[in-house]
């Protein structure tokens, strides 16, 4: 990353400006309804957590440089400048107090996509040097080591060896010409290796040909989390190069929601062209296998159970029905949560949310405790 300055930050704000953002800022009448959709406001009652307020520095750049009236006000010295102090003050709001869950974008009466604006505003914050240390470190590790948690290929190779020895299954690595290339998140490599075992088992039964790439196995994209397109592009590009090299038809995005946003929706725009392969979320692929009869299960869970829709995959990713389709396959008493699918409430977030936060967020914990008292 080149040196962070307020000038770079302002330039990045300018680079992000487009017709959607200008129409969103033009349309806000400060009705305050987005506050009620935001967990940080509902859990604290503090008006500073109103989603649209988190964008004040970005809004000032828009007003002062992209509106006639704002330009006149600036000429007359009537506008409040965007300074280091302002960005420093707003950093906790734009990083620690937003999970990019996008619920506010669903309720705004004038239709403002507020989480889209926060995603773009973060570009300016990170370029000006106002991003939490933790995510800066994770991004550096992602660029230099290849994974935000510092996981290198030998660690993955060791896990693969364990699984193969324990189960007798094969986890294919760097196999050219197969249909699918699976990505993993660091968490799955280190803490939930059973994910790879499950893939191997299911794909064997369903006759899916697949591989893991030793050069690009990490799905987590710290660049998306921190809000830096430069970093995000570099990380997406590694996957694109590996997928092209192995000539796969599909890349499978794992559970991680922000990873899905990164590789499925932002990726082609970051590299500036469509992919030569398709991206599917693992839930989409499993649902496809279910629908075509290639995924077979035995037995039913009879306890009443539900599914907490993940924001990035469902509301912001469009994978709406596969989770319930799959659960109905194995559970006789599956029920939807209150406000299911695109209106779901943020669960407080996985790695993509906690990683950019400067400290464990007490509001998120309070929110989770309030929603799940048991």
């Amino acid at each position: 990353m080149s040196e962070a300055t307020i000038e770079r930050g302002l330039n990045l704000f300018r680079e992000q400006m487009n017709a959607p953002i200008a129409s969103f800022f033009s349309s806000c009448v400060n009705c305050g309804m987005c506050a009620e959709a935001c967990l940080f406001y509902t859990e604290t009652g503090d008006p500073k957590y109103t989603p649209i307020n988190k964008l004040e520095p970005f809004r000032r750049v828009w007003e002062q440089e992209y509106t006639l009236w704002g330009k006149l006000k600036s000429l007359l010295g009537m506008s409040k400048p965007v300074t280091d102090e302002l960005l420093e003050e707003w950093e906790p709001l734009i990083y620690d107090a937003c999970t990019l869950c996008g619920r506010c974008s669903m309720v705004c009466p004038v239709g403002n996509d507020i989480s889209y604006m926060i995603r773009h505003a973060r570009e300016g914050f990170v370029a000006a040097g106002y991003a939490p240390e933790g995510i800066k470190g994770a991004s550096r590790r992602a660029i230099t080591i290849g994974s935000p948690m510092g996981v290198k290929y030998p660690a993955l190779a060791a896990q693969i060896k364990h699984i193969e020895a324990d189960t007798g299954l094969t986890i294919p690595v760097d196999v050219e010409g197969v249909d699918y290339m699976a990505l993993l998140s660091s968490m799955e490599i280190m803490n939930f290796p059973e994910y790879m075992e499950a893939l191997a088992r299911i794909f064997k039964q369903a006759g899916v040909t697949w591989t893991i790439s030793s050069e690009a196995f990490e799905a987590t994209n710290s660049g998306i989390q921190i809000g830096s397109s430069d970093i995000a592009r570099e990380l997406v590009n590694r996957v694109v190069v590996a997928a092209d090299k192995l000539k796969v038809k599909y890349v499978i995005s794992p559970e991680c929601g922000h990873a899905y946003t990164a590789i499925r929706w932002e990726g082609p725009n970051l590299i500036g062209r469509p992919y030569n392969f398709k991206v599917v979320h693992i839930l989409e692929l499993l649902d496809e296998l279910r629908a075509s009869g290639r995924l077979k299960t035995e037995g039913m869970e009879d306890d009443r159970l539900t599914f907490h829709d993940p924001c990035q995959i469902v509301r912001k990713g469009g994978v709406l029905e596969p989770p319930s389709n799959l659960l109905n396959m194995v559970a006789s008493n599956f029920v939807d949560m209150q406000d299911p699918r695109e209106m779901n409430c943020c669960c407080g977030g996985g790695g993509g949310v906690s990683a950019p936060m400067s400290e464990p967020n007490r509001y998120v914990s309070r929110y989770l405790n309030a929603r799940n008292p048991n």
């Binding site: 017709a19 349309s27 469509p274």
Partner: protein, 216 residues
């Protein structure tokens, strides 16, 4: 009388020009920014989803209605009341007809009177809510109160003029026209522009979500 002649003549023309050219500039300011092509493989079509969002955002999402009932109901009442008094009061229709030759039937003036009264009370209640609700008070700046004022004044002066509550009548009528000119002049430079840009905002929101297969 000079005052009434001025607000009806040159005053109105000046305000109208600022209003129309101002809106045009503001809309161009937004649209020329454009947006970059999206290379991600779409799951759904942008057009239909975007247009649907333009329409369905008019109805509040269920949870929002429960959480902010006053903002939702008050917002409906005064917007609808404002449009009824503006476009269905016979003298207003005659003015528009004289200007652009378009005419439509109005509604009885005593009905307009009742609608105007409700609108005025609702606007006062909305101001009270802005001053007292923690979120709205926190968010609001001079522009929010200015836009409220220039929206409220034409309603108030119109009501006073209709009931001849200020003497002489030409003075109150002149004040009514002047307040409406103030609204037109302030309009393009403030968030009153949402009356036009909300269509783009909703469309972009709906289109971007629709591309991902979600109806926003």
């Amino acid at each position: 009388m000079d005052f009434l002649l001025w607000v009806r003549g040159p005053g109105f023309d000046i305000a109208l020009v600022i209003f129309l050219i101002g809106i045009l500039i503001r809309l161009l300011e937004v649209l020329i920014l454009g947006r970059k092509p999206d290379y991600s493989e779409p799951r759904g079509a942008e057009l239909g989803a975007g247009l649907r969002t333009v329409l369905i955002r008019t109805l509040p999402e269920q949870g929002s209605f429960k959480r902010s009932p006053f903002t939702v109901v008050g917002g409906y009442v005064w917007h609808i009341g404002f449009f009824i008094t503006l476009f269905l009061f016979v003298p207003h229709i005659e003015l528009i007809n004289a200007m652009i030759g378009l005419s439509w039937p109005g509604i009885a003036s005593n009905l307009i009177d009742a609608v105007a009264a409700v609108t005025i009370v609702t606007l006062l209640a909305m101001l009270f809510s802005r001053l007292s609700h923690p979120v709205k008070r926190f968010l609001s700046g001079p522009e929010d109160y200015l836009t409220w004022l220039v929206t409220f004044l034409p309603m108030l002066t119109g009501y006073l003029a209709y009931h001849r509550m200020i003497d002489p009548y030409p003075l109150v009528l002149g004040l009514h026209i002047l307040s409406e000119e103030l609204l037109m002049v302030v309009f393009p430079f403030t968030k009153l522009m949402h009356a036009f840009t909300f269509i783009f905002a909703r469309w972009y929101n709906g289109a971007m979500a629709g591309r991902r297969g979600v109806q926003s």
